[in-house]
Symmetry: C2
């Protein structure tokens, strides 16, 4: 991709992120975004159709590689299959989040975090779904597999939100222990 495009794209993303940490998504205008990013109006619309479109693009940018990194993790060892090894997918994800290469955590703690959270969960859900199909787990209790997958991805995302709101006092490894405690009994 053209260097110029990369530059403006990054500038818009950065501006948007900054604004999101200041005010709610619905109150942010395209005008503010282009002012903050210091790009022309035409340029913005050449890259994104609408503000919603920009939001989706940012979600994709932020979560796609963290998820694919986690996917690699599940391919070598399963979700939690290797006993209590620190290489569980969930621990991996949490560590990845804490490193905060971009400002994912800032976005997940902003006023409009629900939007990003939802995207995150949907991605995670697919990941776990695949894992469950691979291992051909049986639900001995008559609980639908689908339900369990949703329960795990949902719980994880809600945990992350709890973690962030509580100012991330726990280390990823400790959080992983909590998660294990509430999830393993049902696997």
């Amino acid at each position: 991709m053209d260097r110029r495009q990369q530059k403006t794209r990054a500038a818009v993303f950065r501006a948007f992120s900054t604004l999101l940490s200041e005010k709610s998504y619905s109150k942010i205008t395209v005008q503010e975004i282009i002012d903050t990013a210091n790009v022309g109006r035409t340029t913005f619309y050449a890259h994104f159709e609408t503000k919603d479109d920009l939001l989706k693009a940012l979600c994709k940018e932020l979560f796609d590689h963290i998820i694919s990194s986690a996917a690699d993790c599940t391919h070598t060892h399963g979700l939690y299959s290797d006993g209590n090894a620190p290489e569980s997918v969930f621990c991996h994800l949490l560590q990845h989040l804490q490193e905060d290469e971009n400002n994912i955590l800032e976005l997940l703690s902003c006023e409009s975090s629900e939007i990003f959270l939802r995207y995150f969960k949907d991605s995670l859900n697919e990941l776990i779904q695949d894992q469950f199909v691979d291992q051909n787990r049986k639900t001995n209790t008559g609980i639908p597999r689908d339900f369990l997958v949703n329960h795990i991805s949902g719980s994880f995302v809600e945990m992350v939100l709890w973690w962030i709101k509580g100012r991330r006092k726990q280390a990823p490894e400790e959080l992983d222990r909590y998660f294990r405690a509430v999830i393993e009994p049902i696997l």
Copy 2:
């Protein structure tokens, strides 16, 4: 409250709900709302400061009494304390939702459901928090009580969303059984 105020308030809420089932929150304009509700522009702004304000008001309107009804439920018997009696709070909540006095479920299945979901979870969280404090539960495993409360409310809300997206094939009682299966092991 004045009958006229009630009428316009209801009309605006209804219009807003209708629009939410058609398009995303961010694409809805005040203009559309007042057109659909058939109220004057001045009238709208006399009731609500902004579109966001309207959203909050609708959330409050919809969830507050369903939550307080659930709160009554926890005061007579606990969360799940009476063994497998159908009077568990969660079953109560699900039944309440299914009856769908207003159109809560329609809103929870709309494109912008995250917003309502978040409000729902926060309310639920308080409810469970109180219950946990009352019963003075001990966390024998070193898992913070706070974490468990969040896990329960989070899981519940994610379950509801799963239920709705799957077109509500299960009866509340069956869903309650699922939820029991994933939550009771950790209580």
